[in-house]
Symmetry: C2
Subunit: 392 residues, 2 copies
Amino acid sequence: MKIKGFKFSGISANIKKNGKKDLGLICGDGPFSVAGVFTSSSIKAAPVLLDMERIKGGTARAIIVNSGNANACTGEAGMRDAVATSSFLAAELGALEEEVLVSSTGVIGQKLPVEKINAAIPELVAALDYGGAQEFAEAIMTTDSYPKMHSVARQINGKDVSITGVAKGAGMISPNMATMLSYIMTDAAINSKMLAHALKVATDVSFNSITVDGDMSTNDTVIALASGASGADIVEGEAGHLEFISMLKELMIELAKMIVRDGEGATKLIELKVKGADSKEDAKKAAVKIANSPLVKTAFYGEDANWGRIVAALGGTDVKLDESKLDIWFDDVCIVKDGLFKGVEAEEEATGRMKKKEISLTVNINMGPHEATLWTCDLTHDYIKINAEYRS
Amino acid sequence: MKIKGFKFSGISANIKKNGKKDLGLICGDGPFSVAGVFTSSSIKAAPVLLDMERIKGGTARAIIVNSGNANACTGEAGMRDAVATSSFLAAELGALEEEVLVSSTGVIGQKLPVEKINAAIPELVAALDYGGAQEFAEAIMTTDSYPKMHSVARQINGKDVSITGVAKGAGMISPNMATMLSYIMTDAAINSKMLAHALKVATDVSFNSITVDGDMSTNDTVIALASGASGADIVEGEAGHLEFISMLKELMIELAKMIVRDGEGATKLIELKVKGADSKEDAKKAAVKIANSPLVKTAFYGEDANWGRIVAALGGTDVKLDESKLDIWFDDVCIVKDGLFKGVEAEEEATGRMKKKEISLTVNINMGPHEATLWTCDLTHDYIKINAEYRS
């Protein structure tokens, strides 16, 4: 998977104890337009604070990412460490320090092993390759069971335009993209302001519309870089602009679904649609409550079309509701109509649908025109196993 | 466990498939002062709606409770069924129909088996006994692993006053007392207005301060009855009034902790104190977020003093925070001071504390004078097992 203008690498710097890759680098052929979306947590890790500041400049050249240590809750020392890494890398690349971004993911509250990282940077830079995206994707994994990459290509103004994305996720994924890193590279020519707008719009319907366990992280980061190497200019308000946003949404929704499919211990991907809400906020609130309910999630794991738990979750919100208007479907099977159970036959059909790996759940509250779509997964024995044993 | 003025019974009416007790009755020697607190879910089961209405009268004589079927999401038929049961029981007891209350807990959305219940009522009434509280407590269980009863006795105005409570809980316990039934009987003489006030105050610091999985139910009910048989008059504003409220709090906190200890699959009871919040709302919000975080709960199960997950959960709220002021203790061990990790030794000590069955977790955000206490439990393999297999 290549994308014009970008080299990648991923190596082991011995931050992780198991010897797996834990240091990745994305490097542009030059300084490119950049945009970012970051965690909404009130406690932000040092690299997030640093990147938020640097991205204001509108251009960036390189992003260095380590896994195994989040450099979060590390106080002033954490910020010094993040700056030191970027400075060391900038010198090695001959880039401006302000054009180097830094991400970290892993254990919270432990000092970043800067010496290990800086010692590994020459090897990391030497390994840069236009075909190195796979190595980079592996280096940013924590409890992920596989690397996550996707590309979308279309023609814009007669030119071939590509967008490639790499992501990591797994646990702690909540609406508002918790413990999630994603890097989006495009060869379109787009200025940083338009890139920022497109990234925000696409994040809302992708990374901000998935949930694994309702927890957020201190380190969530989505960064987009545009090389312009395709020669396709994205001009505000033109058809190509809408096309670019549509490509970005498609790419990011696919990456988001990959993250949920690989949710810690997940065996099923659930596409939840809440329809008929009185407001956009109500639709999202209802969807989040249902998607994060441990009772709903264990029912999916147990392949039990337990609509009662969905109703109970819904009742626990302040969403405008009328019980006698509620409809619930598992895939194409309506199990509740006007608030009443459709009977044993419908239940048997719905139970059959629950055996699928990917299931859609539709809740129509029939109070208004608004809807929201969210992707989530089931809650399983392996989630407990991973999180009772893993020191995140 | 006896309480002056009240008889109890509990039998099997074959509502549950396993032949266990599933129908319970509390009957006062006469009509007594009554008060209730009910689910805040916007979707309320028929018996909850019926009781809310009847309790306005200020007196009640009997409460019939079935387990195995929640009579929730059952539409108009559900209300007819609840009324029919109360009417049948009232005739059998020679009581006014308006003085009979009804509770149901169990599967949502299935028709209440009124014929089975009414057929069993003569046996239920015949079994009434001043010493029957244990049978009643068993009859209201669903996924509970043991019946829950507690009594508190003190002298008020020179008279012996008792309060006895019976509860059921287990899963779906969230702040705001989800799928939880509790019945409080006292021999104090207290009018229904003062009883309602005392019940509300005590519910806030007990059943509304526990959480197992953040889910709520359609059926939560706490009902208090006062027989006056002790001859101790509770007079508004007098010392005995405060004493009564204090007794009720003590009783209900103990019942609440029993529910969390028996939380589905729970192996540990965690007493979480959030201190130093800028407002009462902030304190509660922070506590609820931490207590419901699956990552925090699995860390307790794994006996891992993983304070990073606590910080991450806290960051996911809009509570007023300053990372550099945050202190965290596991029991008496301070592991984070001024937002920074205290080091490996503190961690080892804290890990030792995590092996206990009952652990206190204190989070001081040092922003103001407000605090909140919440009880929760760990998230375990057995929670998944129970909820993936049980049809609630």
